[in-house]
Symmetry: C2
Subunit: 327 residues, 2 copies
């Protein structure tokens, strides 16, 4: 038994969780706090959440904690500093690792949140046994974590793994990142809502507009999922189009990186049954040399919204992948 | 001194070259033969070219040859078998490594040609000292070779590194691969010609149509380069547009993989002065978090058309990167 704490920092909440890193899918103790918007308060909130978990671990007699891992939503450099974060501006440049380590008296590692989730899936989730795994997290936006040859891929400066800002449609809509037609404009929750609004504007999805109070401009991804669950034809067609965009981006990634496995995580993984087959069909037709190669598998991540915290905990106690995962 | 032979197989010719792998930028002996179109003849041509070089190495008393590396133009699996090749259909599924090794009595490794070139650039060319390097070869089409953490990245099955078939403009022209708007439709020699034909059709490049005998449909990339050398305004504008497409794809790759360095190789590297600054400007504006991160450098590969053969020879004698290249 080696305990570690993982802290997953989202745009609105912080989840701290203690796990046994030799059997990490069960969260032993957890605690949530809201995410502050300003840098010094962010570090203080992380200390607060982690200390709460540490105290409860001690109170339950669960044994010593070896380290703390933190997942941050944005570009994290190799020193653990947040360098860019669309949904956590206040955390950019704020000291995190030092204050946390000093306050808790434990070693702290900091990484990108989707990198943490990818590592969790490879060690203990849907990626077990594979050594080349790409996780794409489809939520409000798109994040990513790439495991290459059994190791988390950070790149030269720590910023690797941002598939959401791969341009797939240069003539497409403007992205907050400044580019046009980023994959995130299509294959995220925001993208799903936009595809649905366009369908409604064309008159192709009357049920969706009704769900959104009659205002086609108010349609969000959640409405599409709800209508699709009720077998609304317009909503199902939007999910088919959405799946095509997912498959297109996945085919790009497979042409570039040739993984064993691509995992779909994030909030949209909960409705993967509504688009994954469409994504697989698009992907299968689009990958280079499709008829002559071993196809990568496209599957759903299995650790859900706990993946980030579990992976952060695992990264706090560095260990090689179990031998079954070696190539 | 450890000699090895590299054999670079192109769509029209085979180049076999002997190098000292401890000082590989000087080709000691080389020999070219035409590339046959049928599988068994391809293997025979490689044996012929390599044996010619081996004999000349022996005649010159240059010492024993340790192994042979082969670079093939297409998807090469981890067993060295060509699995898909738009410009060498006859080689798909043909035994290469076994016949070559048996005939020459030497160990043989087989890899993708752009992977070979990338490895050459990292060991002995423009990538020296960097451990995360992406080579994109801009020729008739686009190839790629990715060095990640100091190692050539093959992916799970050997097929990694095909940036040319990354869709960047889903509404764009059909690619022979079956997708629409692949990067190769824009940022290759073929793409340059197409951009120029479109400019001429708009009336924006009268000088180009004149160079192509008055027929705008006959404009090729070579005409654009020739006209740009003569300071033709229309041709220079086409190169500016072309550079924008190069930069767009490079920004995608940097968002995904965060290298130290992206190298432009292939035939278009010879005219990099006509588009590289435009590509850098586009890339600098498009990469995620550009203002807050260390930028990757975008440079020209330096080993030219010998890179494939040099890299194949280096791969035949596996050695770690020199220590200066470690991160």
């Amino acid at each position: 038994v080696t305990l570690a704490i993982g802290v997953d920092v989202g745009g609105t909440k912080v989840l701290a969780a203690a796990v046994d890193t030799t059997d990490p899918t069960t969260i032993l103790v957890s605690h949530r706090v809201p995410t502050p918007t300003r840098g010094p308060e962010i570090a203080a909130a992380l200390v607060d959440a982690a200390r709460h978990v540490l105290d409860e671990v001690a109170a339950k007699g669960l044994g010593p904690v070896a380290g703390v891992g933190v997942g941050l939503p944005g570009l994290v450099d190799l020193d653990g500093m947040l360098r860019a974060a669309p949904n956590l501006h206040g955390g950019v440049g704020a000291p995190i690792r030092g204050p946390l380590s000093d306050a808790l008296g434990l070693p702290v590692v900091v990484d990108n949140d989707a990198n943490c989730a990818a590592w969790a899936e490879v060690v203990a989730g849907a990626g077990r046994g594979a050594s080349h795994v790409l996780l794409v997290t489809l939520g409000t936006g798109i994040g990513g974590g790439f495991v290459i040859d059994g190791r988390l891929h950070h790149g030269a400066h720590g910023f690797a793994g941002e598939p959401g800002h791969m341009v797939v449609d240069r003539a497409g809509p403007l992205c907050p990142c400044g580019r046009h037609g980023c994959w995130e404009r299509y294959a995220s929750g925001n993208g799903l809502g936009r595809l649905a609004r366009e369908a409604a504007a064309r008159g192709d999805a009357p049920g969706l507009a009704a769900l959104a109070g009659g205002d086609a401009e108010a349609i969000r991804g959640e409405h599409v999922a709800a209508a699709a669950r009720d077998a609304d034809a317009g909503a199902l067609a939007v999910f088919e189009e959405f799946g095509g965009w997912v498959g297109l981006g996945v085919a790009n990634l497979v042409n570039l990186l040739d993984p064993d496995l691509v995992l779909v995580g994030g909030g949209l993984a909960d409705v993967a049954d509504l688009f994954l087959e469409h994504a697989r069909a698009a992907f299968a037709g689009e990958v280079m040399g499709a008829a002559d190669r071993v196809p990568a598998r496209l599957e759903v991540a299995t650790l859900g919204s706990d993946a980030g915290a579990i992976g952060a905990a695992l990264l706090a106690v560095p260990a090689p992948l179990p031998p079954f995962a070696a190539r």
